[in-house]
């Protein structure tokens, strides 16, 4: 309810801006929706756009649930792209059945390393992870630029052109296209599987339990004998691994099948490392709710281009509206908390006054936080 209201509210503001720009909001929004969800082709574009958002988003879920703020999605994506590319450059003649899974694993490894660094710094030296992850984004970009301009540069480009990119990577590593006429590849399925995996990890495993315990109360986790520092490292490592997979997918699912840089991180990631945070927050930091959330934000990004063509309004407007959605969601968090606290007091009173059978209603899943996107966003 609240997320939908937030979307509506930001669309109303968007309509006002469109009017001020002299464009017809209804026509603009029709083009937007049409471009995002109006045809099978539009849907497949949206799914492609949603895929990295989903992968980064579920990674963000892991970190934020453990109260670790990972702003390093961009750098971790790049690290995943670098490691998977280097692996394929070295063992590119392995059969696809081996090489494709290897690409995903290598991507996860690269991202994991890039996440583990701020994790270790935070756990053992108290370095603020917000700062260190942002700084490591910059390091990753420059490292990527260096690698693509020399060590892993396309030999053909070294002599002429000098475009910072790799050669056409081994076809054995191409992500298989799904049956049908679209460009959708296996990465979409992997992203969905990863989302389910992260859900299971957070709510069905001992490690996930520790991550959430540390996130809610590090003091209680320590009291209970949990390895709090190692759990913090695990949170950022796993979070980075998911982002790293997104980086690998962007390279090996691209049309050019090359790793290319334009010198910035946006050029490679299209800001998925940041937009994934938005996606995860909109999905209430729940991996399964992040799936529709990523589809929505993917759709807005795709539809913005159609809108731009239809009513001649810069697509940057949509990026701004995405930001507004998040502002609304996050600020309505306060309202939601007030409502929840009131409800809590009610339950409290009932418990104190009337309950004689303590086990009433017990026996179903013991899972508190899997109720939906509204009750659970407590980063």
């Amino acid at each position: 309810m609240v997320p939908l209201a937030a979307v509506l509210a930001s669309f109303v503001i968007g309509a006002v801006i469109l009017l001020m720009l002299g464009a017809d909001p209804i026509e603009g929004y029709r083009a937007l929706v049409d471009g995002a969800f109006g045809s099978p082709k539009a849907l497949s574009h949206t799914a492609m756009k949603a895929m990295p958002l989903l992968l980064v988003g579920v990674g963000i879920c892991i970190a934020f649930r453990a109260s670790v703020i990972n702003i390093g999605g961009e750098g971790q994506m790049i690290a995943g792209a670098i490691v998977s590319t280097v692996v394929v450059l070295n063992v590119g003649d392995l059969p696809p059945l081996v090489l494709v899974p290897l690409v995903f694993c290598a991507g996860a490894l690269g991202g994991a390393i890039w996440g583990a660094i701020p994790g270790v710094l935070k756990a053992y030296s108290g370095v603020n992870e917000i700062l260190s992850t942002i700084m490591l984004n910059i390091v990753a970009v420059q490292f990527m630029n260096f690698l693509l301009r020399d060590p892993i540069m396309d030999p053909a480009q070294k002599t002429s052109g000098r475009i910072p990119q790799t050669e056409r990577l081994s076809a054995n590593a191409d992500l298989p296209i799904l049956p049908g006429a679209s460009r959708l590849h296996i990465g979409v399925l992997v992203a969905l599987a990863v989302a389910v995996f992260v859900y299971v990890l957070l709510w069905r495993t001992a490690l996930g339990y520790r991550l959430r315990a540390v996130g809610h109360s590090a003091a209680a986790a320590r009291y209970a004998g949990m390895p709090v520092k190692r759990t913090i490292v695990a949170a950022l490592t796993l979070s980075g691994a998911m982002c790293g997979i997104a980086g690998a997918v962007l390279v090996f699912g691209s049309e050019s099948h090359r790793f290319v840089t334009d010198g910035s991180s946006v050029g490679f990631t299209q800001s998925a490392g940041f937009n994934g945070i938005v996606t995860a927050l909109f999905g209430a930091l729940h991996p399964l709710w992040t799936i529709p959330s990523s589809f929505l934000f993917g759709g807005l990004l795709v539809g913005a281009e159609t809108m731009q063509r239809a009513v001649q309004v810069p697509k940057a407007l949509m990026v701004g509206l995405n930001g507004l959605v998040v502002v609304f969601v996050v600020s309505s968090e306060r309202l939601r908390r007030v409502l929840r606290e009131r409800a809590d007091r009610e339950t409290n009173r009932r418990a104190d006054h009337s309950v004689d059978d303590p086990a009433t209603g017990a026996g179903r899943s013991t899972d508190s936080s899997v109720s939906g996107p509204l009750g659970t966003a407590t980063p």
């Binding site: 069905r204 339990y209 209970a224």
Partner: protein, 505 residues
């Protein structure tokens, strides 16, 4: 005694959504009287006081001061009407002097502060009421007891007629309590009225002229110490007979289960909080640690549990040296720990009751297999513990922070005892817990003692320490002042030791 009614609350009713906080409450305070207000958490005491202070408006009923409608609709009005309140948490500015704090907020103090005349009057009041404090001292340098005296002087300086004290003895040593009572009596004799809020039955019996007991928002009894007893008061508070002191079975003491040898621990402020302390607890024995808050109790418990690294000394749990070990190692040596800060350390508030039940062994069989949690087994265990320890919760999926303090404490105790520990540390086991739940917790601790567990009870509530312990160790500034056997307890001597004089003296 004059029958002039200083304060009269009649028929006060206050309803909040879903709950009747005050239901037709009558309370009157006469001139020269100490009126004790007794009741469990949530009985409606603080709502009533907030109505008196103008913070809430009653749905019905009226507040009369000296027979006239009070017209109080804000705390400022209350102060003007001569009503003052001493809160549990003092409202003083630590960096200002006593005199400056006393005049803080007074309108007539004007631009320039005439500290000389203020100090003069503070000294007068101090002398008259036995409230020894130096007007020029900075508040942060004062002890807790002295700060409380400043608060009382503040009220006297404002010529309060009616003084409300909210659990004023919680932070004091027994000798300080005695001094405070002398002061309060003197204030009453000078024609003031006092409302004394407390849940300590002994104090209420010795100080009050009249006692009003609240339960579930209603007055469940109005009596005087002469015509009632502690048992009777507890029954009025809880609504059923309460056993205040648990029956202790005959002692069957075994071998040493826990030992602390010359332990030194540095506290948060960088000073030595535990300064060379040695203890031994045997199987089947409860050792109580008595002391005023902040004398190293917390650091001692944390150092034993592995939450704070000791600077020197040794900790042995069931024969294993666990000095400076990780909390999980100390636990596997056989220690269970009911922490002082139950909401911060003892449970994850956002987790469900079931999730908190497995907090300390979530990764062990049978609750976990190959890294996966087994919710069937976990649910069974939670249901079992919740039933066995009478934890009142709407369901096992209820977030734990929604439970009352007593029920959270029972949940923690259930979890800690379920592993059949060799040693149990219970820090402030019943602080902020209702009498009914406290009675239950005490009974479980004594039962656990019967099973051969060595138990360390750390409490600032001397009654609790005396009711539970077989031996009482008194701690002062991180040092042991002596250990007294249950049969030789003398409250006066305990009080002296808590204030720093050693057993031998």
């Amino acid at each position: 005694m004059t029958e002039t009614r200083l304060l009269e609350l009649s028929g006060i009713t206050k309803r909040f959504p879903g709950v009747l906080a005050n239901d037709d409450v009558d309370l009157d305070v006469r001139v020269g009287e100490v009126h004790a207000l007794l009741g469990e958490n949530g009985a409606g005491k603080s709502t009533l006081m907030k109505i008196l202070f103008g913070l809430y408006e009653p749905d019905s009923g009226q507040v009369l001061i000296e027979g006239r409608p009070s017209g109080i609709s804000s705390p400022a009005d209350a102060i003007r009407a001569g009503v003052a309140m001493i809160h549990q948490h003092f409202m003083l500015v630590p960096t200002l002097t006593v005199a400056e704090n006393v005049v803080l907020g007074l309108a007539e103090s004007g631009w320039r502060l005439d500290t000389g005349s203020v100090a003069e009057r503070v000294r007068d009041l101090s002398a008259r009421y036995g409230l020894e404090v130096d007007p020029s001292a900075l508040v942060w340098q004062l002890s807790v007891g002295e700060r409380q005296r400043v608060e009382i002087i503040k009220a006297l300086y404002r010529d309060c007629r009616l003084l409300i004290l909210d659990e004023p003895t919680a932070v004091l040593t027994p000798p300080e309590v005695e001094d405070l009572f002398v002061t309060l009596r003197q204030m009453a004799d000078d024609g003031r009225g006092l409302i004394f809020i407390s849940h300590k039955l002994d104090e209420v019996m010795s100080l009050a002229d009249r006692i009003t007991v609240l339960r579930d928002g209603r007055v469940s009894g109005e009596t005087t110490p002469g015509e009632t007893s502690k048992e009777e008061l507890a029954r009025m508070m809880v609504g059923r007979p309460v056993q205040l002191v648990p029956d202790k079975p005959p002692l069957e003491i075994g071998g040493v289960r826990m030992a602390v040898e010359d332990l030194r621990v540095v506290g948060d402020r960088g000073t030595e909080a535990v300064a060379g302390l040695s203890l031994e607890i045997r199987s089947g024995e409860i050792l109580g640690i008595a002391g005023v808050s902040g004398n190293g109790q917390r650091e001692l418990a944390e150092a034993i549990a592995g939450l704070r690294a000791p600077a020197a000394g040794r900790v042995l749990v069931d024969g294993r040296d666990v000095t400076g070990a990780h909390p999980s190692e100390v636990r596997s040596a056989g220690l269970a720990y009911v922490p002082e800060e139950r909401m911060r350390d003892g449970v994850v508030g956002e987790f469900t009751v079931a999730e908190n039940v497995m907090l300390v062994d979530h990764d062990r069989a049978p609750y976990c297999r190959r890294g996966m949690l087994r919710f069937g087994t976990i649910g069974e265990r939670a249901r079992d513990l919740v039933a066995r320890f009478a934890v009142k919760t709407p369901s096992l999926e209820t977030p734990t922070r929604n439970l009352s303090g007593g029920n959270i404490q029972k949940l923690i105790l259930a979890r800690e005892l379920s592993g059949s520990p060799a040693v149990l540390i219970a820090a402030q086991p019943t602080r902020g817990v209702d009498i009914g739940a406290a009675e239950y917790i005490h009974r479980r601790l004594v039962e656990e003692q019967g099973r051969g567990t060595a138990i360390l009870v750390i409490s600032e509530d001397l009654d609790e320490v005396m009711a539970l312990s077989d031996r009482i160790a008194v701690i002062f500034e991180g040092r042991l002042m002596g250990i007294i056997d249950r049969s030789e307890v003398d409250v006066a001597q305990l009080g002296l030791m808590m204030a720093g004089s050693s057993n031998a003296a």
